[in-house]
Each structure stands twice: as structure tokens, then as C-alpha cells.
Amino acid sequence: MLHAVSKNTIRESGARKTFRVFNVLFLTLICVVVVIPIWNVLITSLAKDQDVMGGVFLIVPPSLTFQSYARVLHSGYMRGFWNSMYVALIGTACAMTITVPLGFALAQKRLIARNFFMKLVSLTLVFDAGIMPLYVLIRSLGLIDNRWSLILPFMLSSFNLIIVKNFMMSIPESFVESAWLDGCNDLMALVRIVIPMSVPILAAVTLFYFVSFWNRYTEAVMFINNSSKYTLQVMLRALIYQSDGSLGEGNVVYDNTKMAVMVLGMLPVMLIYPFVQRHFVSGLMLGGVKG
């Protein structure tokens, strides 16, 4: 039996073996390049003050202490964390509420002027108005210094909309038609048939939205005036710059504290990612195939 299996196995050529070894080495190298900065952030955040001075790049932990985390958890940075969480959670929920029905509508071939609407959506991918017109708009809406200024303008991403629409177009029309025959209207068909079938793409797009709301920096600085409403990203950048004030009167903030805040900044995305990872690639692949 063993002999038979061995006989049927396709023998790999030397070139292919070399290619596979090269592939493994190459991908390992890429993994190392990606992992090293994150590892460095983690190790530095766990080191003592003295061990992080002098622009050192730590790979091996010289000391192990949670003092930086204790500081950060009892500091004003936690307010930034909760502000970011507020913006990211509400923003993602609102964005998905808009993106999914719109994607569904644009996926329907019977939609009048569908191509025109798609062109309008695509236009915003190419042309970005920039921060000034956005500032003037936010100001006119009376949203300066309001957390909603970080949510409302970003509730629809054309890129995300297009991949959701493409995915929904790949769902056979017969499923939706059956729902209609069973008495569903469009909304019910979306909720009962299309959404359950679109979990991979919805997981991917949810993560995209969450990360984009979580990492938003420039708009948070420009539209928010009261520092108690600043997001964690703003506070993190402030912390990094504070000890490098060009005027020299900033505080001396050691790298371990900065890195601990960075870990806090990475934490939500790192926690969410494993749960949506299995949907992630398949969702993107399926959303990208149909135009």
C-alpha cells in the first residue's frame, strides 16, 4: 500500500524544490520585517526607563516591567482611548448601515440610472477635495468641536461600497427573486437573504471601516478644539512630539511610555482581526472579481 502511494506521488523537480525553499525563506523574511517593529514596540514598552534612553532599538528585553502600562492606564490617555472607541464603534455601525443597503441597491440591475450612480461614486475615488473644503463644510454644519465631525463625513467609503456592491452582484439573482416570490420586499430580501450570504465581505469591510475610524488623525486635530475630545491617535502623536518640542521645553517622555500608548492604540485592531481573519481574504477576493 505504502509502495503504491509512493509510486503515485508526483516527483518534484530540483528547480521546484529550490523555488519552494526560496519561497519559504522569502516569506519568512517578509514576516520578520513585519513582526520586528511590532516586537520592538512591545519589548520597549516593557523595559525600564534607563534601558530605553539613547535611541536604542530593542529586540531582546533588557528588563521586564509593567510600569509604563500602569502609568498609561492611570493617565489622561485612557480618555483618548475611549474617545477613539466611541468614534470607531459608532462610525463603523453608521457606515455599515449606509454602505450595505447602498451596495445592495447598486447591485440591482433593475435600478434606474445605475451606471450614472456608480460613476458618481467612482468620481470621489479619484478627486479628493482636501482638508480645507471639508473644514469649511464642517464649520457650516456647526460640527466643529463635535465628535460627529469625525463620523459623518466618513460614513461612506467609495472603495468599500464598490467591493460590497461587487460581492452582492455575485449572489445569484434567483435567491433574491425567490425571496420576492415568498413575499419579501427589498429590505427583507436584503436582511434575510443577502446579508447572511455576504458575511465574508461584511466582516472585511467592517474591519476596514473600524481601522479607518480608529486611525483618523488629521481630521481629529482640525475639527476638534477641546482636548478632552481628542482621540488616542492625537494624544499619541502629542506624546511623541512632546519630548521633541523644537523649543526644547517639552517634557522628557521616555520611549517605554510612548510604546505603551502605541500598544494601547494597536490593541483593538489586533483583538478584532483574529475573529474576522477567516472571512477576510475570501471576502476581498469575492468582492474584487466582478465589476
Binding site: 489622561g76 486635530v221 478644539n225 477641546n226 482636548s227 506624546l239 523649543l247 522628557v252
Partner: protein
């Protein structure tokens, strides 16, 4: 329908009349104040910042809406607000010598001559500090500390260990020769930050000036195209190729540069003379305590030289649209001249929030410490206020001694500082349009020359091509004509 509408309107009218007396009774002046987060008690914690705002409100009898952007994005935020028509009533400007002329040309700050004249405390400040930022006889900004000067700081322990013989004003050749003794020891002889403007320290030794300036004859010229610049650039290149200057300076942040010296990883760096005491305290904190020797200037082949003069870089402005400039100047007056408010705003924060006082010494609270705050006493040597002895807390004896020495170092640095000039805005539209790109281009050329991407000749040739493309000669003609 008409009846209902009339009733509704009548009710609204009645409501507005009822709320009118309350509105009239609330005569507290409301102002917006915008300053980066290296002020307001130097803490990024919103609660601590608010404690300073409350203190300021109480001291000035105004209601303040504070806008405290991170220092790294401060200018972007301020300029976006200005462009969007939201100029804060009171705002701090950084890089005043470059930015103020543009703001004045756009009529954003208010002329302050009369308001300053009406303030006894502000009038008492040496007028030369105001005139450093004067534009066409108008004062648009109120500085709050002495002009900034940079010198080199050299670790004394390494000087002794490696027998480095450098005075406080050595020659350019001595500097390279003596610091070369550190080559091969693993210690960076001279750590330098990525900010190219700092090279002016060395250019001063050759009588060179990067950028447009008014020469001794009172004529505007372009320093990059003068003969002296060639010698200056050759020296900078030599500093780099000799291995004296950090080979990775182009990516080095200010704090990294400082930490190199604190820890003994580097022997020398360039920093504000007012930061001397930081070297004493931070080298001790790093476990490598030492004193540092200032090198105020390097004497060039023709006997020239001077410290890096950054002049007045930050100052307070009042918006030209401010409804209550008298209240605004009252706030600025407190910030600049009142010992308690000044110390709280620029360094120490508020008792109970940032620190508590134990035996006459301020001790940081746990909440403040967790946000990276530390007690600093730089205000004692930086500000125009001569006496802080009225404050209920004082530095300890070691810090007092370091600050006393720091004051002497500041005085000597001021004495030996090089040239710094402000080009007036509004004299040449062509200059106003191209000023930023000219500065950016000479910085690019100098960094390319130092790093060896181009030779001095090639770099200056590239610069000349750029200069011609922006009609540089026309700029000079316009500046000299007006």
C-alpha cells in the same frame, strides 16, 4: 393656520424677551485662546490642561475656550482655522520670524502698539524684544521669553577621558581635530539633528548666511550665492566625511540627539543654551552623570563666528477680529509678566493638579507623572520676569546652582550669537509667493552636499537653476526697491 402661526411667533418673541435680561446680566468676557500642548502646564492630560485654563480664567476675569493642538500639528491647525475664518481671539505663533510677516500681510493679527503702551507691565519689557518682530513700525506679536540661541554642548567626562582640549570658542579646525580623538571608540563625536537650519551655526564661522538677508551695506542679497557659502559648505562636508558628525544625522530627532548625549553615546550636540540644566539632570537620570561644556561659537579662518540665533520664535498675537482686545491683552499680560501664571502656564502647572508642595519643593502628582509630566524650572531663566521668589515652591539647591550657571550661559550665548534676519512681507509679491520654496530648496541642497549626493559646485549650480526659475534676481530687485 394663520392664528396658530401668530400664536407661535408671539410665544417665541415672549421667550426671547424673557431670556434677554439673563443674557445682558452675563457680562463675562468670552475669548478663545490657542496655543500648542507644550504650554498649558506642559501636559497632554485634558484634566490637567483644564486646571491651567481655570487658573488663567480666574486670574484674568474672563471665560476662555482653550484650543490646545499637539505641537507637531499646531501650525497646520492654526492656519486651517485662519483660512476657514475661525481665527482665535488670542493665539501663539511659532517660527514667528517666518510666519508673522505672512499673517500680517493677510491682516490676521491686530496691531498692538497702543495696547502695549496702555499696559504698564508690558511697557516695562525691553523694547528691543518687541522690535525684533516689528513690521513697518507696527508690533503685532508679544514675545514671552528671550531670543533663542543655540550652542554646542560637550560632555566634560568624555573631554577628560579622551583628552579633548576645546575652549568655549575654539576654531573650526580645532573642533574637528579634537573630536576626531573619539573616532573608533564607539562614541559618536558630534550628534546632530535632522533639522538643516542648525547648520547655520557652522556657516556663521565663515560669514555665510543661508537664505536672503540684508548685508552690511543695507542691500538684500542671496546668501547661497555668495563666495563665503562655498567655504561654509566645504566645512560642513568635511565635518561629515571626517566622521565627526553623526553619519545618521539625517534621520535623528531632537530628543534622540539629546538622549545620545545624556547617555554618553555621543559626546557633543547642538541645543538651546537655556537647556543646560536638562543635561545635568537627564545625564544623571540616565546613569551617566556629567557636566557639559558649552561651545558658543567656532571661530572661522577669518575670525568670524557666532552661536545659532533663532531670535524670537514664539509670541502672542491678538486676532484683528477680536471683539474685546482689552481683555485679550489682559490675558497676555498675565501670561508674560505674572510670575504665578507664567510659571503655571509654561512649566509647572497648578498646585493640587500637577504638583503638591512638600517642604517648599514642588512634587509631581501621580496623575501628572503618569502623563509624562515633570517639574521644570526653565521659566526662571527664560522669561522676562526677574523674580520668582514669591512662588510658594522653589527648586532644590542642586537645581538652583544649575540654573544660576544656566543664566550665565544664556548671557554669554546671547553675547556671542550670530545674525538672524526677518524679511518683511508685502515688499515683494514674488518673494511672498516663493519664500517657502526658496527655504525648502536651500535646505535640500545643503543636505545633499553634506551627504555627498552632489558636490558643492553641483549643488550650488542646481540652486542657481532653481533661483532663476523663481526669478530670484527679480525678488532681490523688488526687495531692494521698496
Amino acid at each position: 393656520m394663520k392664528k396658530s402661526l401668530s400664536l407661535l411667533l408671539a410665544a417665541m418673541l415672549l421667550l426671547s424677551c424673557m431670556s434677554l435680561p439673563a443674557a445682558l446680566a452675563d457680562d463675562t468676557v468670552k475669548l478663545t485662546i490657542c496655543s500648542p500642548d507644550n504650554t498649558f502646564g506642559i501636559s497632554t492630560d485634558p484634566d490637567l490642561q483644564q486646571a491651567v485654563v481655570s487658573m488663567l480664567e480666574e486670574a484674568c476675569d474672563v471665560q476662555l475656550e482653550a484650543i490646545i493642538p499637539p505641537i507637531g500639528s499646531y501650525n497646520d491647525k492654526l492656519e486651517t482655522m485662519m483660512a476657514g475664518g475661525d481665527v482665535p481671539d488670542i493665539f501663539a505663533i511659532s517660527q514667528a520670524m517666518t510666519r508673522l510677516p505672512n499673517y500680517v500681510a493677510r491682516e490676521q493679527p491686530m496691531k498692538l502698539n497702543d495696547l502695549i503702551a496702555g499696559s504698564e507691565a508690558l511697557s516695562a519689557i525691553d523694547s528691543t524684544y518687541f522690535t525684533a518682530l516689528e513690521i513697518g513700525g507696527g508690533i503685532y506679536a508679544i514675545p514671552y521669553y528671550y531670543p533663542r540661541v543655540k550652542s554646542l554642548f560637550l560632555r566634560k567626562d568624555l573631554m577628560e577621558q579622551y583628552d579633548i582640549q576645546l575652549s568655549e570658542t575654539p576654531t573650526t579646525e580645532e573642533f574637528i581635530a579634537e573630536l576626531s580623538k573619539l573616532k573608533g571608540t564607539g562614541i559618536i563625536p558630534f550628534s546632530f539633528p535632522k533639522w538643516i537650519d542648525n547648520f547655520q551655526y557652522f556657516l556663521n564661522s565663515f560669514g555665510a548666511y543661508a537664505g536672503i538677508y540684508k548685508n552690511a551695506d543695507g542691500v538684500f542679497v542671496d546668501g547661497m550665492q555668495e563666495e563665503a557659502m562655498i567655504d561654509g559648505l566645504n566645512y560642513l562636508r568635511e565635518l561629515y566625511t571626517s566622521g565627526v558628525m553623526d553619519q545618521e544625522f539625517i534621520t535623528t530627532e531632537n530628543n534622540t540627539m539629546r538622549e545620545y548625549v545624556y547617555t554618553g553615546k555621543a559626546a557633543c550636540d547642538i541645543d538651546y543654551v537655556a537647556n543646560y540644566s536638562n543635561y545635568i539632570s537627564q545625564s544623571a537620570a540616565a546613569g551617566a552623570p556629567t557636566d557639559v561644556q558649552p561651545i558658543y561659537m567656532l571661530v572661522g579662518p577669518n575670525g568670524l563666528g557666532g552661536g545659532l540665533n533663532e531670535s524670537i520664535q514664539t509670541a502672542w498675537c491678538i486676532s484683528s477680529e477680536c471683539k474685546n482686545p482689552e481683555a485679550a491683552i489682559r490675558v497676555i499680560e498675565k501670561l508674560v509678566t505674572d510670575p504665578a501664571v507664567h510659571a503655571a502656564f509654561y512649566n509647572t502647572g497648578v498646585e493640587g493638579a500637577h504638583y503638591t508642595i512638600e517642604n517648599g519643593i514642588a512634587v509631581a502628582t501621580e496623575k501628572a507623572t503618569n502623563s509624562g509630566y515633570a517639574i521644570k524650572y526653565n521659566y526662571i531663566t527664560d522669561s522676562f520676569i526677574p523674580d520668582f521668589s514669591t512662588l510658594p515652591y522653589q527648586p532644590d539647591e542642586t537645581m538652583k546652582a544649575a540654573l544660576e550657571l544656566q543664566r550665565q550661559i544664556i548671557d554669554r550665548g546671547m553675547e556671542l550669537r550670530g545674525d538672524k534676519q526677518m524679511i518683511p512681507a508685502g515688499k515683494s509679491d514674488l518673494y511672498d509667493e516663493n519664500a517657502a520654496s526658496i527655504t525648502s530648496y536651500w535646505k535640500e541642497v545643503i543636505s545633499q552636499i553634506v551627504l555627498g549626493s552632489v558636490t558643492v559646485e553641483e549643488g550650488l549650480k542646481n540652486y542657481k537653476n532653481f533661483w532663476d526659475s523663481v526669478e530670484g534676481d527679480q525678488i532681490l530687485a523688488e526687495l531692494n526697491a521698496n
